[in-house]
Amino acid sequence: MNIETIIESLVALFINRPFIEMLIKVLIFPGLMFPLLFVVFAVWFERKLLAKVHLRIGPLHVGPGPLGGIFQLIADALKLLQKEIIVPYNAHKILYNILPLAMPMISLAAMAFIPVAPFPSVGPVDYLVVFYTPYNILVVLALFAIHPFLVIGVGWASGSKYTTMGALRAAYQLLAYEVPVMLSAACVVMVTGSFDLIKIVESQANIWYILLLPIAFLVFFVSMMAELGRRPFDIPHAEQEIVYGWATEFTGVHYVCVMFAEYVNLCVASCLVTLLFLGGWLGPVLPPAAWFLIKFGIVVVFFLMGRGVYPRLRIDQLLNAGWRILIPLALIQIFIILVLAKFAPWILPVTFVGG
């Protein structure tokens, strides 16, 4: 075997269409680059948006003109990465160091299963997704459900009173939102008859599910907000009550990881809402990826606005809301679907097998 054949085989291996497509998917969109850029942009956008609601100006300096402050997050992250890692005296050393690093990995793993748009290709239709499986909604929701357990572990491992309280609050909060999330996602799965996010989007060609299943959308959105710990439900953090909840003791690189994971989770949740209820990449004129990003942006704005509009709920009030309002509403939605399937099946995109 001479050197030429090795080069030729290497070229054949790497410089071909499938490999480059894979590279684009994994590294750029929707892979690594998209969540990274999203985090930088979302933190800046959140600060700027809330400043506007507060009648302030917001971040101003690090960045050009109206985008002032956009590089602040990078500067902050660089500063935090240089900082000493302080491990509290009471902390469980191993868990305290490992769990925060695991958080962004699991959040990014969820991103790998989310299809964002059809790939512009010549042959059979391909999708912009890192790893395709027909059960991707299950995988994403399962990966999402790991996050609170990491939070509980982190809170316990920090060995401080405030972090323990935050972890317990996170555990209670898990009880409130996990069931409504599953039930409202089940509504969409029932109507579509598939666990595949691509099929779910394509079945919305005629009517988006936000119009067909408004109650399920409401329940999913609210319980996703609780899952992310955004403002009306940021009970595990609750700055005014328990300093910073389960993340009180973190400094430096741990803090960067925790915050990064939170914003990647925001990205995943917004993608899910867009795909499940807003018709994903479907839309006229513009390319599919553009449509996806527009809808995605609107969902993100609504997720962020919660912080400017509502005060935080108490944990018992959240549990009440979860079990007395959200779960009954989700069940009502399932009942409505069943009634529709029996009496007006032409509304639903697929006919029920047993209906």
Partner: protein, 361 residues
């Protein structure tokens, strides 16, 4: 169940310059002890070593959020000692400054109540509109917060040119904003669920604990020094004392909010009715009141403040005793924070509008 002792402050996002010892059983606070004294400056002792006029900026530091009304009581007590009657116009200017000071203080207090439940937007809106009145203070007195404007014998300056128009313009705007606040803040379902039924102080408990000010009025007791013992120009002005029956955190916020509306109306009336004349009677630079004692009380934004001054005939007071409103309201805090969730502690604390400066003096 084991009881955990948590120290809540002074290094805590909302605790202020003091600390609470909380005994928590799970998420329920079973006992609470305030740990005060971090901002003790010995103002009462300092006041014994200054002359009567020099004491004005000193006692003002008791609670700079409400600088107008805090000094009000002191100068009235000194005037009583000296037996002087101040001109009518000075009384009206004092009323205007006192009410603007009340607005400024209530805006700050309501903003803190909002931040207690995690509502940053309201804090920012209140603080922004506080700026309107700080500008007016700057126009009238020359300072924005610590305006040492009252001295024994009257006030320092007359109303400046264009003050009437500027004040009316700002009051119009402020009244429009108050409607927004009511919708955004007090009719916000999340805020209602968060504050209704939290820290309920019943009427008899409020009287027994000696709570004063808006906290007392929120429990249904119509007590206000401005009506009970009218001072300055309050006997010539129509206003009502807002009260609520519930006595919870929402009611305390509501009373403060309605007092804002009343203050706006009082300022309008006072600006319209203000008579011409002198603003100050001649008082020597170092007044020497005769031997005696005087007590004066006024209604500050946080409640009734009392000044007891003893004069030994020299140019410095023998004793200045300040009975501060926040110290009286503090007594309700351990009473209210028994068997409540930990999450309600900041709501109770800031709905009572306690400030450590005032407690420690």
């Amino acid at each position: 169940m084991s009881i955990m002792r948590v120290r809540w402050g002074p290094q805590h996002p909302v605790s202020g310059q003091w600390a609470f010892w909380l005994d928590v059983d799970g998420d329920i606070v079973v006992n609470m002890e305030p740990d005060i004294g971090y901002t003790h400056r010995g103002i009462e002792k300092v006041a014994e070593n200054r002359t009567y006029i020099q004491n004005v900026p000193v006692v003002e530091r008791t609670s700079v959020f409400d600088a107008g009304n805090i000094v009000f009581g002191y100068v009235q007590a000194v005037e009583e000692l000296m037996g002087i009657e101040i001109p009518e116009r000075a009384k009206y200017i004092r009323t205007i400054v006192g009410e603007m000071s009340r607005i400024v203080s209530h805006l700050y207090g309501l903003g803190l109540l909002a931040i207690a439940v995690g509502f940053e937007t309201m804090l920012m809106w209140f603080i922004n509109d506080r700026e309107l009145f700080l500008d007016l203070f700057e126009m009238l007195t020359g300072a924005r917060i610590t305006y040492s404007f009252f001295i024994p014998g009257g006030v320092l300056h007359d109303l400046p040119q264009g003050f009437y128009d500027e004040a009316m313009r700002r009051l119009d705007y402020f009244e429009r904003r108050l409607k927004d606040y009511w919708k955004m803040f007090f009719l916000n379902r999340t805020f209602i669920t968060r504050t209704r039924g939290v820290g309920v102080l019943k009427r008899e408990d409020a009287i027994r604990l000696g709570v004063v000010g808006p906290n007392l009025r929120a429990s249904g007791v119509e007590a206000d020094v401005r009506k009970d013992e009218p001072y300055a120009a309050y006997d010539q002005i129509d206003f009502i004392i807002p009260t609520e029956k519930e006595g919870d955190a929402y009611a305390r916020g509501g009373v403060r909010f309605h007092e804002l509306e009343q203050s706006v109306s009082i300022i309008r009336q006072a600006l319209k009715k203000i008579p011409d004349g002198k603003i100050r009677v001649k008082v020597p630079i170092t007044p020497t009141p005769p031997k005696g004692e005087a007590y004066s009380r006024v209604e500050t934004a946080r409640g009734e403040i009392g000044y007891y001054i003893i004069s030994d005939g020299s140019n410095r007071p023998y004793r200045v005793k300040i009975s501060a409103p926040s110290f009286r309201n503090l007594l309700a805090m351990p009473f209210l924070s028994r068997n409540v969730p930990m999450a309600d502690i900041p709501t109770i604390y800031l709905s009572l509008d306690l400030i450590p400066l005032d407690v420690d003096r």
